[in-house]
Symmetry: D2
Subunit: 342 residues, 4 copies
């Protein structure tokens, strides 16, 4: 068989580990041939490929990013996109695709399956918000990076009797904030899943200062205050009603400084959460995903996505995988609230 | 309620996170009081305690080890041990115990339960070999430390065209070797679960040298060669038939050097695998174990152990928890063999 | 002797290592007694102290921040400040002070020396911009944190064919940017010492994209474009002419995106550069500074600051120490320019 | 000019950073051409080369080891070795060599200079024991790795009330032990420069146990007890009088366990100290060494070695560089003794 591989969407530590496992097992166990498509769906759409054999995957296991490049190209939003993909795959003699990506990339994969393209999906989202798998790779790395930053911030916060607000990734799901906050001993954790009351947060912060320690507030970039609380401060909104200065972390730090009378500072972790070498958890998970994906390809079990369930790698239909966003359930948040404000 | 807490067996990153979660939730949510017992079962046996309140658990989340100390004391191997424990618990007004430990510590807990002591167990084994839980805390930290060492060793091996043998923990179960080897891109992984053929290992090593990369061999301390292979080298055994020089890693490196004609060196990771700050995965797991253990205590659900199943914390009977050693199943080893020797 | 210790200004990894060394050697070698002053010069000004003995300095060597707290209080800017300090020191029976801090803290120390207070200074600036010492502690830690962030960002930049602008500390001196940029393999490094031409930077960025790698631009927070370049974009300035959105990094990324047509993103490292456990270099330097500072106190050699010269710790007059800012000399910048734009 | 580059002796983090800087500046500033010689002096001796241009040095800055390989080949110990080198250099059209290595490699370089070969040396020794430079690259990385291991071992030592003996590199000079021990808060540090009294060490260990903390003993692999102390235990020596079990660390742990009655364990850090990504200090130092070495080549200033003096890179005659081993001076050891035994 001749198999194409592509990576789509935001990059994530572990992508290269998947590619390596797919190629290594495909060649050594099954005798497959591989073609690397560049930059997600742009690769098959425009027929842009790169060589992908044993030599190309050597040494990439510990490397972040993706040797194939990535993009957010969606062939279904481009006139004739699907036809181009099908003809390019035919021209290149591709029998099947391994598509590694998140909701968007796998959504395309699911639709292409219906149109007769042989695809196996590998789930990728640093936010851990895909419903059909216990975990996605990249998430554990992001959480560890955020936790290490929080570890560092505790001492500087305490030396200056300041509040430190740490803004982490998570537009729609708060998994990184929840886990990094729990692991880092945050004083408050704020998620997109539940609007927060800025006065309650200020109360937690004040309670923490009474212990002679200083508070660390972990806030997901998508977290929002209660309706109305941000309107009260509309001088900080731009013409479109967006927060003007630096995002929710910055806004919150200013609020907390004003309400508690204690200095507050913000750190926005940003892209360092998605770069760099993966943790062991992510390397093992990504490797196992890759090994099982190529098994599925070999068996002709297309239209599926590999997924983690407990300690097992299973297969689920691609359509199921992208059906709903996995957000933080209320009981996980309640669990964490024990540590708030003290 | 007045609750005793103890940690037994080898220390493990995450023990302090459990203690902190138990105490924080016990006090803030349930109004419990706590007594810390020192050094595992020696604490209740000899009535040696230390204060354990909110102040004592501040700042310990990121710290390895256990603030309570540990030991391998087994009251059932001491005359009148159980009676002493029961009378000490009565004298100290202890209503229930949270026992954090591995097979031995939890085995004692299970037996004490039968004798009317109120115990809830929290599983701890750096080797990840307890059957009733998907993972134990400390394991992920150990695997990451071993992986980082392997990452470092790749470049020195290649610069000198040497084989590097890395001996990791695991007397009876090879989970650390399997995961660290997979994550570190090892050339061969050797586990206690399956005797290895030293000639086959030498073959893998030679095959790797043909790629112009150098081989890393990850060997669990409890791995053994095929029957007879070590006897051939009995000058290296002491009077009891034990390997004389430094363990299986050292023995294997000498064999590989002889068989392949290429220099080989050994690194024994030893105690650095169990020390130091826990990873995010272990801090979150340990914290959740602690929170759920104190819930079980509060509900009077004794004789149980908390356990991880998928993403959920569940409770299982203590006796079940210690029934059998969870070794690496053959399919997980086969999965990894794809990467051997190339 | 009875000796007061204080830490002033922004916190820095290594402060606790200094405190520990001062106290350990002072007590065990010389039999001194110690008093900890809280929060920099606020401590002696308001007579706020904390116990400072062997027990208080145990375990603090690897901890960032300062157990004494810090502030920017300047007694010379407060009516009667100096008199209050002198009378508090007399009331507390303090014979001498060890003042650990940067330009401001040591400037106060120098003036107090002239007024008859016995002070020995220990230099501290994360920016490494004190003229009288080869290095200050905290700098090496900050550079390593920034370098690790840059290491992580390379792969994410390349996966998305983006420019990544990393803003690091350094308002007046670009040492952190220079060293982190050199160590991290930055494509361009921009310092406060030299205004940059945004078109030349865009040229470097474009040249880098031709190599199929992606550019990392390291910019010190105090770096500025050539006169006039920012005025052209005055919609991004606030009423005071300050950059409105997020600082120079954000401004630069927007410029580069516009000029090169390639996406650009910014990461502002902020407070994580000054928090957390110190590197070995900083722990050794801080420890040696502490040991030599207490020697100076013991010898009655006041009005001096300890400093690093080559591998030796020497003493220099406090006034000299704070005379001028040590900026990056032009030959060090030229040295680094070899790597720009390719 | 056409310039050969080689790396000899044990590998060291930073070698690749030197190679990259030499090649980048040589090509972009001076228009030189480069030839990579493989495996130290074996390369020019046997005429084994590899391509060395801009493409080959991309991405190697953060990588440990050396892309050129290394060996301990000494052409002066091989019949006709020097003649072969000279004729190979002539055949390959090599005008000058950059030799990166330690005492042996640079010793060869010095002798070849006398024989008319154009060589510039770059000092490399992980042990930091070359007299003519304040620091060598690789040392800072090794010290940080050892310190992180010690940090980890503190908590496990304390949990089990054990002594932990950490054996670090250093056969003839104790710099790694001194700096890692100081940075890691060791209880005792033992160097090759001074024989230790095992009873005094046991005394320090006992004193430490009285503090309720546990002792960490850092011992350089070349440290030795007082004459006679090891003979008393000759059952532990092999036929050649060498320590039979695992080196000085293992011997010392057994002695301490016997003398103090407290369990003791050993960790031998071994090769992980020399592998892996360099610290910022080492990357900057190695890069600057490389930049200045190619300047020297370009200026025809042969027979010199680059060296660090304070913050400046200087040039010293190669013969001077290798004249004497830089051991730890007594005052640096005395400085550290303040922390022993408490």
């Amino acid at each position: 068989m001749r198999i194409g591989v592509l990576t789509g969407g935001g990059d994530c530590p572990g992508l290269n580990a998947v590619i390596r496992a797919v190629v290594r097992k495909g060649i050594s166990t099954y005798g497959h041939e591989f073609v690397g498509f560049r930059d997600g769906w742009r690769g098959p759409l425009e027929g842009v490929t790169r060589e992908l054999g044993i030599a190309q995957v050597r040494g990439i296991l510990p490397r972040g990013g993706t040797i194939l490049g990535s993009s957010r190209t969606n062939p279904f939003k481009i006139d004739g996109g699907v036809e181009k993909i099908k003809s390019n795959l035919a021209d290149l003699g591709i029998d099947a695709l391994v598509a590694i990506g998140g909701e968007d990339t796998l959504g395309v994969a699911a639709k292409l399956t219906d149109l007769g393209v042989n695809v196996v999906g590998v789930p990728k989202t640093i936010d851990n918000d895909l419903g059909a798998t216990d975990y996605t790779f990249g998430f554990d790395t992001a959480v560890n990076i955020a936790m290490e930053a929080i570890d560092r911030l505790h001492t500087t916060a305490e030396s200056h009797h300041r509040t430190l607000v740490v803004e982490v990734m998570g537009r729609h799901a708060g998994w990184i904030a929840l886990h990094a906050g729990l692991a880092g001993g945050a004083n408050v954790i704020l998620l997109p899943e539940r609007q927060f009351d800025v006065d309650q947060v200020a109360g937690y912060v004040e309670k923490r200062f009474q212990t002679q320690y200083s508070p660390i507030v972990v806030v997901a970039e998508g977290a929002q205050p209660l309706d109305g609380q941000m309107v009260l401060h509309n001088q900080e909104l731009d013409a479109f009603g967006h927060v003007r200065l630096g995002g929710i972390g910055q806004w919150l730090a200013e609020q907390l400084e004003e309400k508690t009378g204690k200095e507050a500072r913000t750190v926005v972790l940003g892209h360092i959460q998605r770069g760099g070498t993966p943790t062991a958890f992510d390397r093992v998970l990504a490797t196992r995903f890759g090994l099982h994906a190529i098994d599925a390809v070999h068996e002709g079990d297309f239209g599926k996505m590999v997924a983690l369930q407990g300690v097992d790698i299973i297969r689920v239909p691609l359509v199921e995988a992208t059906r709903e966003l996995k957000t933080v359930p209320v009981e996980r948040y309640t669990e964490a609230e024990v540590f708030f404000g003290s």
